[in-house]
């Protein structure tokens, strides 16, 4: 019949060299040739990042995401909210990641049967069916080395043969009958600083993006509430579905029955109205001389107000202009690499000690005859500060109701650089 209404019709997984290495159809088969439109767009875009996520073809629409060097290309035939599909595809990639530890072509090829089973459960007639990891894991057991050995001997399967109770409970994200001998609940408060620093060193834009990732291994049906010393700091919060929204609205307490295992409890933003402390500063001098095939490069990174914590894991990456041929630099600390093909300079600095500031200095060789680059490249900085939430957010306490045992609780704080860019 002519009616082909459904959300996601087919899915193709394509690697970077353009091989379609997996296809799945939820209804009638769509020929692989539909991907040609995608390849065309990919060619036009030059850069993988610039492939438009939505492509319109004569008979279909292609909505794709790019994750871990794989394109997930879905075929759509009718109107559907594009974000719906994009979000779902990312959920699929997350599930692969969760199941196989990585979402790579090899992992998917090695576990093709599980992948197929997962796709079958996650989507019915193109409409998402079970996407919660807790439920999926009850339906389809993730592969482990031990189990695959056992399976090959006993011939038993990865498929659960018991009912997924989750589908029936009012807490669909938690599986029933969880048992642990050690009951633990860990929360990682991870904050990332997004910033744009202009030439003169002043902050153009800065804000803090935070998440709380949890690892909960608690038996039974624990009901947790997590409270903060200063919840008003959180400007905008998005929740895992388990969180009781009203409770947060009225009391600013996170009250929830957690899923089992790892999950992201909340993500939040600390508004840019609050002044964001920038923990590092960068002194830079990059210049290209007119009419000569060389330039100077001199960058120093130093710690600012870091609240007595050391800044570590510092890495600087710079996309140099196309005209740059090579770089002859000396680093007082750490090591640097320059890739003459991609023109990416990466300097792995490591820990910054205020006594001796790391510096990278030297000569830039330019293509002879090429015009002097217009713009100085931006410096992208990464760093990490342990045991600090830069916004000052502090967990006050975690209470558990509903179960009798005493869980072990832990909170860890980390501050990282997010999209941290210094314009030069």
């Amino acid at each position: 019949m002519c009616f082909q209404q459904k959300m996601i019709h087919s899915l193709f997984l394509i690697n970077c060299s353009g091989d379609i290495f997996l296809e799945k159809h939820w209804k009638s088969v769509v020929s692989q040739s539909v991907c040609d439109y995608f390849f065309e767009a990919q060619e036009k875009a030059i850069d993988v990042e610039n492939v438009p996520p939505v492509i319109s073809t004569p008979h279909h629409y292609l909505i794709s995401i790019y994750r871990d060097k794989i394109f997930f290309v879905s075929v759509i035939q009718t109107e559907v909210p594009p974000l719906f599909v994009i979000e779902f595809l990312h959920r699929v990639a997350d599930t692969f990641q969760d199941y196989f530890g990585e979402c790579s072509e090899t992992a998917i090829k090695d576990n093709v049967v599980i992948v197929y089973e997962l796709l079958e459960e996650m989507l019915d007639n193109g409409f998402p069916l079970a996407t919660e990891s807790n439920i999926l894991k009850e339906l389809i057991k993730p592969p482990t080395i031990l189990r695959s050995v056992v399976n090959s001997i006993t011939g038993s399967s990865n498929v659960g043969d018991t009912l997924p109770t989750g589908q029936l409970s009012n807490i669909p994200w938690r599986r029933a009958g969880v048992k642990y001998t050690n009951n633990e609940a860990y929360f990682d408060v991870i904050e990332e600083i997004d910033a744009i620093i202009d030439k003169s060193g002043s902050t153009v834009f800065a804000e803090i993006q935070g998440v709380i990732d949890s690892c909960i291994k608690l038996s039974g049906m624990p009901d947790l509430s997590l409270s903060f010393m200063n919840p008003r700091l959180l400007d905008d919060v998005s929740f895992h579905p388990c969180i009781r929204f009203k409770r947060w609205e009225s009391e600013r307490v996170l009250s929830f029955i957690p899923p089992d295992g790892n999950f992201r409890l909340i993500s939040y933003r600390v508004s840019s109205q609050n002044l964001v402390a920038i923990p590092v500063y960068v002194k830079h001098l990059i210049s290209f001389k007119e009419n000569s095939s060389s330039g100077r490069f001199d960058v120093t990174i130093g710690p600012k107000q870091n609240m007595g914590k050391t800044v570590e894991g510092v890495v600087m990456t710079v996309h140099m202009p196309k005209a740059v041929l090579n770089m002859n630099l000396t680093a007082t600390q750490g090591s640097y690499t320059f890739d003459p093909v991609t023109k990416v300079l990466a300097w792995d600095v490591g820990k910054i000690t205020p006594q001796k500031l790391p510096n990278l200095k030297g000569i830039v060789n330019l293509q002879s005859g090429a015009p002097k680059p217009e713009e100085n490249p931006s410096l992208n900085i990464q760093f990490k500060i342990q045991q600090l939430a830069i916004s000052g957010l502090k967990v006050n306490r975690l209470d558990m109701y509903g179960e009798k045992y005493k869980p072990f609780k832990g909170v860890k704080y980390i501050t990282k650089a997010g999209k941290f860019q210094v314009r030069t």
């Binding site: 990042e49 719906f84 409409f127 009912l163 153009v204 931006s378």
Partner: protein, 1114 residues
């Protein structure tokens, strides 16, 4: 495809192609020998007895399918394994079937019977997966079977199966659209489902099958709004999108009044051309009516219930809510979505891409909304180009007089970017800023002129194009720039830029009288090498110069026209011919010649540089069509607001006769009265799901007053109403309090009274009736509760005219209770009580008739069995009442709460389980206004809260009764217990035994029922199941008394007389749906015993068996 199934099966896949000579060769169609070999051994493996081999084979086949290889010739070998016991093999076979069934329809039919069997499996997961596969096999011949299966599954007791049924609807529809009418019926039925699990899927089916049947939504509208927050993420998206469309057809535009006051002012200031036509319409409408706009409470309900979802982790949900607010909310409230959308910009780049597209559209209409987040759209050099360009678009839309300097400074950085496409876009953006904001026009122009000396040609070219547009606005002042640009013709090679310069010079040749002919001279030289657009402009320039300065340019023009005459491009040849005729006067040339100058040198309006996102909002935001800016297949237009609101009462829900309890009846009646005049003190969550507008708004009112300050601000239109209702509920509570106390006294007397009940008198029955009535009274109409005698209240209510309907059921009930009593004598008092909580027709239709007949036989059988019955039924029920802790005194900060299941019919509603709650105040302060609030329940569950306890003195204990409809499930009812200072989260989870109420039956009746149910169990998939379990009775549990005691303490069941010594029978009905539960305990010699439970509700049956065994083992 023509081969018969049997033939095909024998001969393998290829035989169906009509090549019998190769029939036995599975790969006859294929060329690859290796394929043939591999398939052959796969076939062998599939035919083997070992599951492990089969599994291995299936895994390899699935891997082939995944790689897109053809495995269709294995069909016969695979389909044989569809009935395989091994669940994984089965699953993979399903995968295979779904993939190839369409190609091998005849063979696929072989598997159908397996699925049909699967549809009747007691395991809901198997039922569901059978339906899933059956409906995924796209074989037209099985349409009737699918239809039947869907219909049955739609009334399955498992919500998971019902969800699958909803999923199957569009599948069937796509296979055979003639089934539409029947499918709509199923959709209608599933729309009424109260489970969150089903809601999303059925709305999806609705959208695919019958999106035009908006009338199906009316009755479910409020329920959907209320369930929304608990629906899974994907369902939320679909429901929100559908409700957006719904609201556009049913409510009035919330901005019609504002448009009068605000927008006109705004227009004056900014000259924004916003919604001109709409304004006019709205103005006319509101002028005509001169009636202040009042938002429909249902409209408000939708806005309020979707708002929390802005906090969802799922970008699609956030976007759905954002578009809902953008299309439906009053202007002042749309702002709330900005923050959430900006948050999404942190997500994956694909998400960013889509969100930015939508933000771009929104920021044209509602610039103010995103202004505070301006900096979030600043561009990083690491952003992909497509993101950069979208961000630029948003920044440009947001630019206004106050922030333009910041934005321009930012743009300056962008212009130096290495990404040239981005630089070009930035130059365009600067041009747009310059046209829109007069103040900075000169600054921008100067900046762009500086760019003309840029090294990069693309940058220069883009600048030229933009400058050209800007100059058109005020050419006189800028002849210097034009001169400068004229010089550029020597260097710039980009055709568009050259063309732009030539056009400029031609257009403003009087400003540069000396340079223009020279430029023409140069261009004439290079004419043949130019691109087409440049040539056209050269001709234009020549023509204009000829008209203004023919002395200097006559020959040049002739020369150019001659060149053009023989150009390869016919456009250029045409143009040349046309222009020659027009400008060069000859004897043949007509009247037009005189007007040539006017034609060429007419004042041309300056181009308006506008966003490509302008007016994109006629597409529903967040949709694929919006993103592509073209109507996608299957796009549902977002309708315009109606001028007149359609009748809002269509969304009122009549409560079906059998679920009506007295208090509900009254509520219903109130709805019919003018809105806002009245509202109730308590409203359970299901009440609101059943959607009386008052109770909805009320609920939120109370929640907002109990804490949130943020939400209350926008609920102004309800403020009034809320105030009123609060007052009223307070004095109602007073009455209730009193009633409650009286009732409690009676309840305390209960256990003692219970045994002599069999001798019960008319008088007692009357008291009972009164109690029921009074408990119901205060919840409804105030005033009635004060009645002191039953007679009086009955007459009063019936005489109270307008709202007599509300009291009617109570009266009727009282009467009904009387009639049998006069007929059957003193014996039936207890029976009648039972009758009270046996709902008349429970869902499975057949049982209703049985129950009524059973009543008659019961009455006959009574005299024989009463002696053994009375103690069995009544004593354990009150003797061994177990109490549970609701709130420990530590957790409750001194307040301790316990509850027990009183096993009495809950007076307000026979479908509710009565829960007696004992609250003790162990603090040393008075606890005030104890009440229940914010119940968080599974769909379908309802709570009848106990009346608020105004105060509880230190050391005091209060006992109240609340009713909970658990929907025959053991899911906990969660709610808050609030005091004047604190909220405690508590939950009541019923043991399965408390979900039922005893039923009276005779031995024969019991047998008959048991048989009947067993029969049905075989024949029907929704039928009854029987669960049998062996057990050992411990020492102390080997007496009649002990057994009866234990069973009745475990479950609220009534004993059924039994002839045999060693057999015990009990019967009960579940409280909500009234399904029968029959228990038989057979005591064999020694400790061995066998327990059988028959129940239509499988889950209940299984759990009950477990509980009883546990009780007996103690």
């Amino acid at each position: 495809m023509a081969a018969s199934p049997a033939y095909g099966e024998e001969k393998g896949g290829s035989s169906s192609l009509g090549e019998p000579e190769y029939g036995h060769d599975p790969a006859s169609g294929g060329i690859f020998a290796s394929d043939y070999k591999r398939h052959d051994d796969l076939k062998e493996m599939l035919d083997s007895n070992k599951d492990s081999l089969k599994l291995e084979a299936m895994k390899r086949i699935v891997a082939m399918i995944a790689r897109g290889k053809n495995a269709s010739d294995l069909f016969p070998a695979v389909v044989k394994n569809v009935a395989c016991k091994n669940i994984e093999v089965k699953k993979l076979v399903y995968v295979y079937l779904v993939r190839y069934a369409e190609e091998q329809q005849d063979l696929a039919l072989l598997s159908i019977s397996t699925f049909q069997r699967g549809l009747k499996d007691p395991n809901q997961l198997i039922r569901a997966s059978a339906l899933r596969v059956l409906s995924s096999i796209r074989v037209p011949i099985i349409v009737p079977i699918m239809m039947l299966a869907i219909k049955e599954a739609a009334s399955d007791m498992s919500p998971y199966v019902r969800k699958t049924a909803a999923h199957a609807i569009p599948k069937l529809y796509s296979l055979d659209s003639d089934q539409k009418d029947q499918l709509i019926e199923v959709i209608e039925k599933l729309l009424a489902d109260k489970t969150t699990l089903v809601a999303g899927s059925v709305v999806m089916a609705f959208e695919e099958v019958c999106p035009e049947r908006i009338d199906l939504i009316h009755k479910n509208y409020r329920k959907l709004c209320n369930l929304l927050i608990d629906v899974e993420e994907w369902g939320q998206v679909v429901i929100i999108n559908m409700l957006t469309r719904y609201a556009r057809t049913q409510f009035l535009s919330p901005n019609q009044n504002e448009s009068l006051l605000e927008e006109s002012a705004e227009k004056a200031f900014y000259g924004s051309e916003e919604e001109d036509t709409k304004d006019a319409k709205a103005e006319a409408a509101s002028l005509a009516k001169r009636k202040p706009y009042v938002m429909d409470p249902d409209h408000r309900l939708l806005l309020r219930n979707t708002k929390p979802l802005l906090q969802s982790r799922n970008a699609a949900v956030v976007m759905a809510v954002a578009q809902l607010y953008f299309h439906l909310a009053p202007k002042a409230e749309v702002g709330v979505i900005a923050k959430a959308l900006v948050r999404l910009l942190r997500s994956h780049s694909e998400v960013q891409y889509v969100v930015l597209q939508n933000v771009a559209t929104m920021s044209i209409k509602r610039r103010g909304m995103f202004e505070p987040y301006l900096k979030s759209f600043y561009i990083r050099s690491t952003d992909p180009t497509q993101i950069k360009i979208l961000k630029l678009e948003v920044l440009t839309n947001l630019a206004n007089e106050t922030n333009i300097s910041t934005i321009l400074r930012e743009f300056q950085t962008y212009i130096r970017s290495m990404d040239k496409d981005f630089v070009a876009a930035t130059i365009q953006a600067i041009g747009r800023c310059a046209t829109n904001i007069g103040k900075v026009r000169d600054t921008c122009l100067n900046g762009l002129v500086q760019l003309l000396s840029n090294r990069d040609e693309l940058v220069v070219a883009e600048s030229v194009v933009v400058i050209k547009k800007l100059l058109q606005m005020q050419p006189a002042q800028h002849s210097e720039i034009i001169k400068h640009m004229a010089k550029l013709t020597d260097n710039i090679q980009v055709p568009m830029a050259r063309a732009s310069i030539l056009w400029l010079i031609g257009e403003y040749c009087e400003h540069v009288p000396k340079i223009a002919p020279d430029v023409l001279r140069k261009m004439a030289k290079s004419f043949t090498n130019e691109e087409d657009i440049v040539k056209l402009q050269v001709i234009n320039l020549a023509a204009k110069l000829y008209l203004t300065n023919s002395k200097q340019s006559k020959l040049l023009t002739q020369y150019v026209l001659n060149l053009a005459k023989y150009d390869q491009n016919y456009d250029i040849r045409d143009r040349a011919r046309f222009i020659r005729q027009l400008i060069v006067p000859t004897e043949k040339s007509g009247a037009l010649n005189k007007y040539a100058k006017k034609l060429f040198l007419a004042q041309k309006p300056a181009p308006i540089l506008e966003s490509s996102f302008k007016d994109r909002d006629h597409f529903q935001l967040g949709s694929l069509s919006h993103l592509l800016n073209a109507k996608a297949v299957g796009y549902q237009e977002l309708p315009d607001w109606p001028d007149e609101a359609p009748d809002p009462s269509v969304r009122n829900v009549e409560v079906p006769e059998w679920t009506k309890c007295t208090s509900r009846e009254k509520r219903k009646d109130k709805v019919e009265k003018p809105f806002y005049s009245d509202s109730e003190g308590e409203s359970g969550p299901t009440e609101s799901a059943d959607s009386e507008p008052e109770s909805d708004s009320e609920e939120s009112g109370s929640s907002s007053s109990s804490g949130t300050s943020s939400s209350s601000s926008e609920e102004e239109d309800e403020e009034e109403e809320e105030g009123g209702s609060e007052e009223q509920s307070e004095d109602k509570e007073g009455e209730e309090e009193e009633e409650e106390k009286r009732k409690k006294k009676k309840e305390k007397g209960g256990p003692r009274k219970a045994s002599p009940r069999s001798v019960g008198s008319e008088e007692e029955e009357e008291a009972e009736g009164k109690k029921v009535k009074k408990a119901a009274g205060p919840q409804g109409k105030k005033g009635h509760a004060e009645s002191s005698s039953e007679e009086a209240s009955a007459s009063e209510s019936s005489s109270s005219g307008s709202d007599s309907g509300t009291e009617a059921p109570t009266v009727v009930e009282a009467k009904r209770r009387k009639i049998p009593s006069s007929k059957a004598g003193p014996k039936e008092i207890s029976l009648l009580d039972l009758d009270d909580f046996t709902p008349p027709p429970p869902q499975p239709v057949p049982s209703s008739s049985i129950i009524s007949t059973s009543l008659v036989t019961d009455l006959e059988g009574l005299t024989l069995t009463d002696t053994s019955l009375a103690p069995a039924l009544l004593s354990p029920a009150f003797g061994a009442v177990r109490t549970y802790e609701l709130l420990h005194r530590m957790a409750g900060e001194g307040l301790s709460v316990e509850y027990c299941f009183s096993r009495r019919p809950f007076p307000g509603d026979p479908h509710m389980v009565a829960v007696q709650i004992q609250i003790s105040n162990n603090t040393d302060a008075e606890v005030k206004s104890l009440r229940v609030s914010e119940p968080k329940l599974l769909a379908g569950m309802r709570i009848q809260e106990f009346p608020e306890i105004e105060s509880l003195a230190p050391g005091d204990t209060a006992s109240v009764v609340m009713g909970i409809d658990f929907c025959d499930s053991t899911q906990a009812a969660n709610f808050q217990l609030c005091t004047h200072t604190r909220h405690f989260y508590v939950s009541i989870q019923p043991p399965v035994g408390e979900l039922m109420a005893p039923v009276f039956m005779s031995e024969n009746e019991f047998r008959k029922e048991q048989e009947h149910l067993a029969r049905r169990g075989e024949g029907k998939l929704t039928g009854m199941s029987e669960i049998t379990e062996k057990l050992t009775l411990p020492e102390k549990c080997r007496s009649d008394h002990a057994i009866v005691q234990q069973v009745t303490s475990a479950a609220n069941v009534g004993r059924v007389p039994c002839g045999a010594d060693n057999e015990y029978r009990f019967a009960a009905k579940t409280v909500t749906s009234g399904s029968l539960v029959l228990i038989t305990l057979e005591w064999r010699e020694g400790a061995a015993a066998q327990l059988t439970v028959n129940s239509e509700k499988m889950v209940i049956g299984t759990m009950l068996v477990k509980d009883i065994i546990q009780a007996l083992a103690q």
